[in-house]
């Protein structure tokens, strides 16, 4: 929202103060100022002048040669404006002056000397009218001498500042110059001048306007008054300049007047042509219909939308925009003036549905103060009479006050303020601040009873803490002394899952040199299709940006596989991982079964798939070993997902509990990534992982005696061997002497029979073992292994 300091200056005396510094203080005390624009600064030396004569230029159809009286002398001017005429009063930029930064010097135009420039309103920056030069006579007060600086007459000099609308969402009272002036007055501790208002009481005996509010749920107040015999068509220049500086556009006197009052007091008003609208109903309709708004657009209306009607004919969308049929025309001289408070939620819904946000609807959305209806009407009439003495009110101020906000009274004491602020703000400051902002304040010693002004009571100020804000923001947060708190010391609580996730990242980054990535919580169906993965049905996002992103992911792996595909052109070998949230359908209570998972994918152009698979296996083992001090078991399992290789999918078990899976891609998926590469992946559920109680780091004293290695070769199907089981079984059978087992390799003979050689390390804590002594033990080991399918090769 754009605000004019000159306009605000109508209500607060800024004399002797630096206005830019004040605007800075406004940012700190009220709302963020996004921009400050100084108007008129680069325009000077422009005077009221009279065109004495107009001659056509000999060689140009457009140009004219003028003699212009600028007060102290008559000068030659070459002018291209189509509307220039003899006797016209103009704004003349004199030699040595400046117009919007453009310096005026003597110039030769098409062979003739010119000593200045006749200005258009657009050139002066006071409107966007560039159709001709400013015909200033109609805007001049009587008795202005030629040569008078136009800045003495017109409000060209101003400081405009822009406040971020978002920072005013909770402050309906600040959508007006008067409301902003109240803030300034309080910040600088100067009085706020009252608005000049017409007395509406004078008309109470006139006939009422026929007003029938049917939509009582969504209307707080509807007031109307009729005025006739309005002759003025053009708004006063200063009103036009203010409207233009504040981002509006002068249309005609009556439309400008309603806009001006809205910007001044914050109350949207609507002027209906009284010839077309002489009674009012506020209602909704039972069926959809079409309605042409005054911007010339035909809109589809529905049953939820509150309309202003006249004899049941729609004439305006309540609180948003009037209708084309009943708008003010050039010949309108009587009007029915609406000043109403509509419900913010209703206006917002209609506005959203129509895709139509207006200055009026924006204000209604914020929940306006219904008391403003009366103020705005009285203010408008005052301005109207000032500009057009012949205007005549022909009805009473008809006021249907449907719903009133309750008066809010809050009680608190100084101790409460001290506790909440942490500093000592004296009672006088508290009283002065609240009074300045319009609160009714009663003080009894250190206790306060405060009445919230109507313009703050629609939703904004409801509790004691809101009062604290009023006091402290005016006091100034920069003026706060700051202190640490007196809280007791307590140990910091640690979340196991979070710290384990941190350790997972460390291990994968530092020991495996993998890269951490982030992706999205939804599946990307387009990318899945490209990889040949069917996106599993899951909870859906209703309002996704694209249908491809509407299903939530159940596994981290598909996105990571796609990232592998995107990165493979730049690297021959890498691993990527992400710890993120997934959804495994719904729980029994209908809520999402949200899980957190570590997904990790390895890629290599040179390693075999089996090598890569084993590297992934190592990573899983080390994560479990490092973080949980436990070992894990891999069990061949049915695939959970279609992107896994049906033969090479393994559950990862820790203490019999599944914590994740390890797999390689389905050949179809792999081919879609790259035909000549290897990929392997695993996924761990970090909550399941964290639910395992970590083992203790136990110390086993090393034996002082040497170990003895014994190799045994078994006939077996090596891919079926569960090595964890082998070590377990051998250990259980080895009389406590087994120190370790290593694989020495697999030999496949010409018949395809596999022979697996294992090296068993035995050691005793008491003595050096000999092969003979060990014979009974190795026999037991062999027997135990035969029982789980490993028979000694003959």
């Amino acid at each position: 929202m754009l605000l004019s300091m000159r306009w605000i200056g109508d209500f607060v005396d800024f004399s002797g103060l630096d206005k830019k510094a004040l605007i800075h203080n406004f940012t700190l005390s009220t709302a963020e100022v996004e921009d400050i624009i100084v108007k008129g600064e680069d325009t000077y030396g422009v005077v009221v002048a009279k065109v004495l004569s107009v001659e056509n230029h000999p060689n140009s159809k457009k140009l004219h040669l003028l003699k212009v009286d600028q007060g102290d002398k008559v000068v030659d001017i070459v002018c291209g404006a189509p509307n220039v005429r003899e006797g016209m009063l103009v704004a003349l930029a004199t030699e040595g002056g400046s117009v919007s930064g453009h310096k005026i010097t003597k110039a030769t135009v098409a062979g003739f000397d010119s000593y200045g420039m006749c200005c258009s309103e657009a050139e002066l920056g006071i409107s966007d009218d560039n159709s001709g030069i400013w015909d200033i006579e109609r805007d001049l007060p009587e008795g202005v001498a030629l040569g008078t600086d136009i800045k003495e007459i017109f409000d060209i000099d101003d400081i405009i500042f822009e406040v971020d609308n978002k920072s005013l969402t909770n402050r309906p009272d600040l959508w007006s110059h008067y409301g902003i002036a109240r803030e300034f007055a309080t910040i600088i501790s100067r009085p706020l001048k009252p608005l000049t208002l017409a007395s509406l009481d004078e008309y109470k005996d006139l006939p009422a306007v026929a007003v029938d509010v049917k939509a009582t749920e969504t209307v707080w107040r509807y007031s109307a008054i009729k005025v006739e015999n309005i002759k003025r068509k053009l708004s006063p220049a200063n009103m036009r300049i203010r409207l233009y500086y504040c981002g509006s556009r002068a249309i005609n006197f009556l439309a400008d007047l309603t806009n001006y009052v809205m910007m001044e007091v914050g109350q949207p008003m609507h002027a209906f042509d009284n010839r077309k609208v002489d009674r009012i109903e506020v209602q909704t309709f039972d069926a959809p219909f079409e309605f042409e708004t005054l911007d010339g657009t035909v809109r589809k209306m529905d049953e939820s939308m509150m309309m202003i009607t006249s004899g049941d004919v729609p004439v305006a969308v309540a609180g948003i925009m009037g209708g084309e049929q009943s708008k003010i025309e050039d010949d309108t001289d009587s009007l029915l003036l609406e000043s109403a408070t509509f419900d913010g939620v209703s206006v917002r819904k209609t506005s959203t549905r129509l895709g139509l946000r207006t200055d009026a609807s924006q204000r209604y959305e914020k929940m306006l103060d219904p008391e403003l209806c009366h103020v705005a009407t009285a203010r408008l009439l005052s301005l109207l009479f000032e500009c057009d003495g012949g205007a005549k009110v022909i009805s009473s101020f008809t006021d249907v006050y449907v719903n009133k906000y309750p008066t809010i009274t809050l009680e608190f004491d100084k101790r409460y303020v001290d506790r909440y602020t942490g500093i000592d703000i004296d009672t006088d400051t508290i009283v002065r601040t609240l009074t300045g902002l319009g609160f009714g304040v009663k003080r009894d010693g250190e206790s306060f009873t405060v009445t919230v002004p109507s313009w703050r009571a629609t939703k904004d100020v409801t509790i004691k803490a809101d009062i604290i804000e009023e006091i402290t923001r005016i006091y100034g947060y920069d003026n706060f002394e700051i202190f640490t708190s007196h809280s007791a010391l307590a140990p910091v609580r640690k979340e196991v899952q979070k710290s384990e996730e941190d350790r997972m990242k460390d291990l994968l980054v530092k020991a495996y040199r993998f890269h951490e990535v982030h992706s999205y919580i939804w599946s990307d169906d387009a990318k899945n299709r490209e990889l040949g993965i069917a996106t599993p049905e899951n909870v859906r996002v209703i309002n996704a940006q694209t249908p491809d992103h509407s299903v939530l992911r159940v596994s981290m792996i598909p996105t990571l596989l796609y990232m592998v595909k995107e990165n493979k052109a730049y690297r021959d070998e890498f691993g990527i991982f992400e710890i993120g949230h997934v959804v495994e359908g719904l729980k029994a209570d209908g809520l999402c079964n949200e899980q957190k998972k570590l997904g990790c994918v390895l890629y290599s152009k040179s390693a075999s798939e089996e090598e890569l698979f084993l590297r992934a296996r190592d990573a899983v083992c080390e994560l479990v070993g490092d973080i949980l001090h436990k070992s894990c078991v891999f069990e061949s399992a049915e695939c959970d997902y279609d992107f896994e290789h049906p033969k090479n999918s393994f559950d990862v078990l820790v203490e019999g509990k599944k914590v994740g899976f390890l797999s390689v891609p389905h050949p179809v998926v792999l081919a879609n990534i790259d035909k000549k590469c290897a990929v392997a992946f695993f996924e761990l559920n970090t909550a399941a992982f964290a639910s395992v109680e970590p083992g203790l780091n136990k110390y086993a004293e090393p034996s002082k005696y040497p170990a003895i290695d014994i190799d045994m070769t078994f006939v077996c199907n090596s891919s079926e061997v569960v090595f964890g089981r082998v070590v377990e079984a051998a250990g259980a059978a080895a009389d406590g002497l087994l120190d370790g087992v290593k694989s020495r390799g697999i030999y496949v003979d010409e018949n395809g029979t596999e022979a697996l050689t294992l090296r068993f390390s035995f050691v005793s804590k008491e003595k050096t073992l000999s092969k003979q002594e060990l014979a009974p033990t190795t026999e037991k080991v062999a027997k135990a292994l035969a029982e789980i399918g490993l028979s000694i090769k003959a």
Partner: protein, 340 residues
């Protein structure tokens, strides 16, 4: 005898001068010191000498001289061999382009850890929270009733089961208050979602870090103190903070907190939109309704809350211009973040 020794000595010196490798030295050693060598032969000739003692000494000193010279020559030869080995060795080039690449953390992880460490050192517990929440956690419990314009500010992703993707980390406030009660100091980093189209400055998926401190008599003065101290640690400089009124339904009073712009030193530059201040984080005193909904006794306790944009912080810290790089999965971008 003496003549013979002198003769041998001369011959030895000549032979030694010609011996240039280990093999000829060994042959020389055998010729003079071997069982059938010249020294043994001299010893044999001793029995024919009258003054055995003097002759014996002469032989011994000759033997010692031969041994010493042989050792010296051998050592010289070994030294030369080592020197030749050194000279002939390959010279390595440490500037060869390294092929092994370090792993990398996601920049959000790094920034989050840095901030977490600061808060941990000040006694804050670090909490994790769901990404999918209900209307209650995200709005109702934060004093944002239905139809409140604040719900307009954030376009929410709704799910077909009625839940939604959390739009801000504040959605965890209620649960964490209920989990711990007062007094309480906690931060909770997390991923948030807003339904908007993405461009270099906008992402629908981004990270925030929320913090809360609740205790007896926690005041606005405390809030400013803590924010200033924490941010000075995070930015590793003595930051100046500035509070402006800001409207958030879950705090009262609410603030926008700015820090002084380091790039221009407060004079004004494009980074701070010429104001000398950078808008950094919304914060405020927790609204009594929010405390009450979290089961906190509002007569006894008060508190403050703040929200840091982790993604934005990472962009500032690392000079990332395009927010979309974070979720791109592109290792060309992300592999640069090796460690804190």
């Amino acid at each position: 005898m003496k003549e013979r020794i002198e003769q041998l000595s001369g011959e030895f010196a000549a032979a030694l001068g010609k011996a240039t490798d280990a093999k000829s030295l060994e042959e020389l050693r055998i010729e003079y010191l071997g069982k059938k060598g010249h020294v043994a032969e001299l010893m044999k000739g001793l029995r024919d000498v009258a003054d055995k003692k003097a002759a014996g000494q002469l032989i011994n000193s000759f033997k010692t001289e031969v041994e010493a010279k042989l050792t010296e020559a051998t050592e010289a030869l070994e030294r030369a061999a080592v020197e030749a080995q050194v000279r002939g060795a390959k010279k390595y080039n440490p500037s060869l382009i390294a092929e092994r690449e370090l792993g990398s953390y996601h920049p959000i992880t790094l920034v989050s850890r840095e901030v977490e460490a600061v808060f941990e050192s000040m006694g804050f517990t670090i909490e994790d929270y769901a990404e999918i929440v209900g209307d209650y956690e995200c709005f109702e419990a934060l004093n944002i009733p239905k139809h409140h314009p604040a719900r307009d500010m954030q376009d929410t992703y709704y799910l077909d089961n009625g839940q939604l993707l959390k739009t801000h980390t504040s959605a965890a406030q209620n649960a964490i208050m209920k989990k711990y009660g007062a007094p309480l100091r906690a931060i909770f980093p997390g991923r948030c979602f807003r339904n908007e189209s993405t461009d270099a400055c906008h992402e629908n998926t981004f990270f925030q870090m929320e913090g809360m401190m609740i205790g007896e008599d926690i005041s606005i003065s405390n809030l400013i103190y803590f924010m200033k101290t924490m941010l000075s640690e995070v930015f590793n400089r003595d930051v100046k903070v500035r509070l402006r009124p800001g409207f958030f339904p879950f705090v009262e009073p609410g603030f926008e907190l700015d820090i002084n712009c380091e790039i221009c030193g407060g004079k004004g530059c494009p980074s701070c939109k010429n104001s000398g201040w950078l808008e950094l984080c919304p914060c405020g005193m927790i609204h009594p309704n929010v405390l009450r909904d979290g089961g906190i006794d509002i007569e006894k306790y008060s508190g403050f809350a703040f929200g840091l944009g982790l993604t934005r912080l990472a962009m500032m810290k690392y000079g990332v211009k395009d927010i979309r790089d974070f979720n791109s999965g592109s290792l060309r971008a992300l592999s640069q973040f090796k460690s804190l």
